[in-house]
Every structure is written in C-alpha cells, then in structure tokens.
C-alpha cells in the first residue's frame, strides 16, 4: 500500500511540474499550446540518453532535458509570434502530430516504438536516489523550486508584461513591451520546465517510448490545467490530483469491468471539461470572472 501511494505521489509530482509548465503558457502568456507532450518527450529522451550514454545523474539529466526542450521550443515560438487563437492551436496540433511521427521513426535517438529501455537508477552527485522515497523527495524539491520560480517571475515585471500581452497584445506593444522577446522567453521557460518533468519521468519509469508523448497526453495535461484553473499557482496541482486520482479511484468501483475503465475515465474527464467550461470557465481554483 505504501509503495502504491509513493508511486501515485511521485507521478503526481512529475505531472504537477508538467501542468505548472503548461500553465505558464496557457495561463500567463495566453499561448494555447496543445503540443506540450512534445516537450515533455524531448526532455525524457534527452535525460534518458544522458543516463544511458554518460552518467545517470538526475540533476544533470533535468538540466539537459530542460535545455533541449528550451532550445527546440523555438518550433512553438515561431507560430506563436505569427498567429493567434485558432491558427495557433492548429499550428501546435501540427507540431504535435509531426513530433509523434519523428519520435517513433528516429530510432537512433528515441528507440522508435520500442523506446529506450534499461535507464540506470538515478544518482545525485554520486549518491543513489533511485529508491521510491528519496526519488519522491527529490521530485518534490524540484517541483517546489520551479513553483517558487514561477511565482517570483509572474509577480515581477516579466509576469506582468506577459499577462498584459495575454490580455491585449497591441496595448502591451503600445506601452513599449517587446512582445516578441517576451513571448519567446515565456515559451522557452514553459517548455524547459516540461523538459525537466520529462527527464524525471524517464528516470522514474526507467523506460520511455512514444506512447507517453502523444496528443492524448497533451490533452490530458491541458485538461489538468483547465480543470484546476489557469493563471493560478494551485490550480494545475489540483487538476493533476483530480485527474490522476480519478483512474485510481475508478479501479475500486466494483461495477465497472476492468477493460472499460479507460473509456469510463475518458468519458468523465471529457464531461468535466465541457461542464466546467459552461458553468465555471475559470476552473476550480480560479475566481469567478
């Protein structure tokens, strides 16, 4: 039971980082990306390759994952600078679909459909942190640090400028904000955090393949952020807890056959998304607008 709870807690922490990173894009910058799993995946592959080829240091892997994702976030920043609204959603969709194909075809880097297996146990400065409890503590520390960073940044001039751009791009530009630079930075920041989450995920699962980085995953993370409440610190975390506990809770209900749990779970979160948008568009943690 303890092992089960630890597992759930670790996954929740990793997804907490991921949801918080998407919140930077959706909530603060108003960039509605549905390609977030791509950057989660990039971080995971980068972390896994580092561990497999060089050293299994989890901190270095996080940095590498973050760096790779931040560098490739330009693929997302480019359309974000050119188009808005529907067009950007469509562009990020295109990016997501292309990335899944690349992930499953670039065998040398990603192991294709088979994925990368046998990622060595995580170490931190030479000490073994691969046990469930130490790993959870490390992941929680990363989450705490990143949340603190997001809070500080969003309270400061960077965050205010971003939210100004989100609410009215032309007004922000008229006030002399460098819209291009700010948006690019925000995308890089959000994607880098997703990359960190990816690297942690790779170590935790000791195995990564393309199945974890598909459009469904992007939608799941988006649902977490939206259901929890965008542009709040606690919102994404609430969303993560709800959506991760949902399948765990459903498996205890005796009247649903185990083979149908996936579909029932999808049904519930689809309904939750629609109903929340109709009755409470700011999410559970968001104030009424």
């Amino acid at each position: 039971m303890i092992a089960y709870l630890l597992n759930l807690a670790t996954l929740a922490t990793i997804f907490g980082i991921l949801a918080a990173s998407l919140n930077v894009l959706i909530g603060y910058a108003g960039i509605f990306s549905i390609a977030h799993a791509v950057f989660f995946g990039l971080g995971a592959y980068a972390g896994a390759q580092l561990a497999l080829q060089f050293i299994p240091d989890v901190l270095l892997a996080c940095l590498a994952g973050g760096a790779i994702s931040a560098a490739l976030s330009l693929c997302l920043a480019l359309p974000a600078l050119r188009v808005r609204g529907e067009y950007f959603v469509a562009a990020s969709l295109g990016l997501q679909m292309m990335a899944v194909t690349v992930f499953s075809e670039a065998h040398a880097l990603t192991g294709g459909h088979g994925g990368l297996v046998g990622i060595p146990p995580a170490t931190l400065f030479g000490a073994d942190v691969s046990g469930p409890a130490p790993f959870l503590v490390f992941a929680l520390a990363v989450l705490g640090l990143l949340l603190l960073a997001v809070r500080l940044l969003m309270r400061g001039s960077f965050g205010r400028a971003l939210m100004a751009i989100r609410d009215s791009e032309s007004a922000a530009e008229a006030f002399g904000k460098d819209v291009r630079a700010l948006k690019t930075l925000a995308v890089a920041l959000g994607c880098a955090m997703a990359g960190v989450a990816g690297a942690l995920f790779a170590f935790y699962m000791a195995f990564v393949n393309v199945e974890s980085f598909t459009l469904e995953q992007s939608i799941l993370v988006m649902a977490m952020v939206i259901i929890g409440g965008t542009a709040t610190l606690a919102g994404p975390l609430i969303g993560v807890l709800l959506l991760l506990l949902l399948p765990a809770g459903l498996s205890f209900l005796p009247f649903i056959p185990p083979t149908q749990i996936g579909a029932v779970q999808q049904l519930i979160y689809g309904l939750a998304m629609t109903l929340l948008m109709i009755f409470r568009p700011a999410g559970i943690a968001g104030g009424r607008r």
Partner: protein
Amino acid sequence: MLFLQLLVSGIQTGAIYALTAAGFALIFGATRVFHVAHGAAFALAGYSFLALSQAGFPWFVGAGAALVVAVAFGLFMDFLVYRPIQRHEGSFFTVFVAAFGMSIVVQSLIELGFGRGFVVVASPLTRAHEVLPGLYLADIFWVAVGVALLLFGAVTLFLERTRIGIGLRALSENPELLRAFGLSSRRLSMVAFGLGSALAVPGAVLTAMTSGLQPAIAAQVMLVSLAAAVVGGIGSLRGAALAGLLLGVVENLVVSVLDTQWSAAAGFVVLFAFILFKPSGLFGQAVAR
C-alpha cells in the same frame, strides 16, 4: 502505375475530407465557432449507419438515420454547449475546450458501445475492377467523387442564391448589421450547424464502407477538417474543400516516396508550413496577428 493508383485512392480520400472540411468551414465561417466536435458528428453518423446496417436495414435507412443523428448532434452542440458559453464569456479557448471535451465524451461512448476495433460495413461497391493494366478502381470511387461534387455544388448554390444562404454569408461578415436588418442570428446559426453537420454524413457513410470505422476516427476527422480549414483559409468553403482534397492526395502520394508511417504526418507538415508562411490560407483574407 503505383503513382496513378495512389493518386486515385488519394482523390477518393480527398473527396471525403473535402466534404467534411467544407461542413466545418461552413460552421466556422457563419458562426465563428471553432467546432472541433465536428469529428464527433462524423463518428456518430458513421456508427449509426453501421448499427442499422448490421441490424439488416437497407443502406438508405442507415444513411437517413446517420443524417438525423449528425444534424441532431450539431444542433445539440449549438444549443447546449456553445450558446451558454457565448452568453457569459465566449473566449475562443473556452469554446475550444468545451467542444474538445464533448468529442472525448462521444469517442468514449462509442468505445463503450462498439468496442475499440475497426468495423466495416460490407458493400458490393467496394469490389475493385482492373480499369487499366495495374490500376484497380472500385465503384465506390465514382460514388465518392460524384456525391462530393453534387453536394458541394448544391451547397454553393444554396449559399449564393437562397435568402437563408445569403443570410449565412452576411452573418459571417457582420452579425450586428444582420441583427439590425431584422434577421435572427440564432436561427441562422442553427441552419449553419445543421447543414455543416449534415455535410459530414456522406463521408462517414463512405468511410464505414471503405476503410472502416474506429472510435478514434472522431479525433482523426477533427484534425483533418481543422487542417483543411486552415490551409484553405478559415471560413472559405471553396478553400476548405480544395485543401481537404489536397490533404487526401498528399497523404496517399507520400507513400510512394516515404514509408507509410509518414503519411499521417505529411498533412500536418503542409498545415504547419501554411501557418508559418501563409496564414491566410489558399483563399482566405489576410488575418491580423
């Protein structure tokens, strides 16, 4: 000959895409609602046709039921999902998430009812004949192309010649003026949703008879019609239809150069390129950033 064969099957896929995308574009053009649950209407129509065909009814009963279900679903979305949202806030992303939630709901309901696997309605129309040496063609090719041309012509006539059609075009250009003129924008948006959803029906029926249906087809069709609508220029019916045809052909022709795995991604490369370099699409007006 392989090239010709792929071109022919590309045109068949493209005809189906074109009609479905035209429906999406019609709805978006008139109401400015990014109806991502359009794929769900397609899936519902396809599965209704399948259920009735399996129950032994003749094809036209099945197709009629599919039409009723698709139109009912479109109107349901308009009345119970989009309108309540637009009443209080109506931000583009709220609508998008709600519609996405509904398409997840539909997909999981289909999964619960019909299972995950591929299902096909057997039809004598799909039997292929050798038309030229090495070129096989089934009668259904002519049905698909004929139906697409006929319906597209009918819808174009409807939009250009009838009072309601002209009202629909006016709605897309200036809703306030339309109301001042004394026309009801609510009634017109009902027409747009009904007609747009109806345009998904032939594609759904033909797909049920050719490549088969699976629950995920809702998402797939949504992606394709969205891509076609953007590439064609958002709101342009002609553009969406042409782009749908183009995507179908590209998807099939790519197979002659690259592995089949790349065929799904090819359409999205086209989409991504269009958004980056020509966001107004083939026939759209220039868009503001």
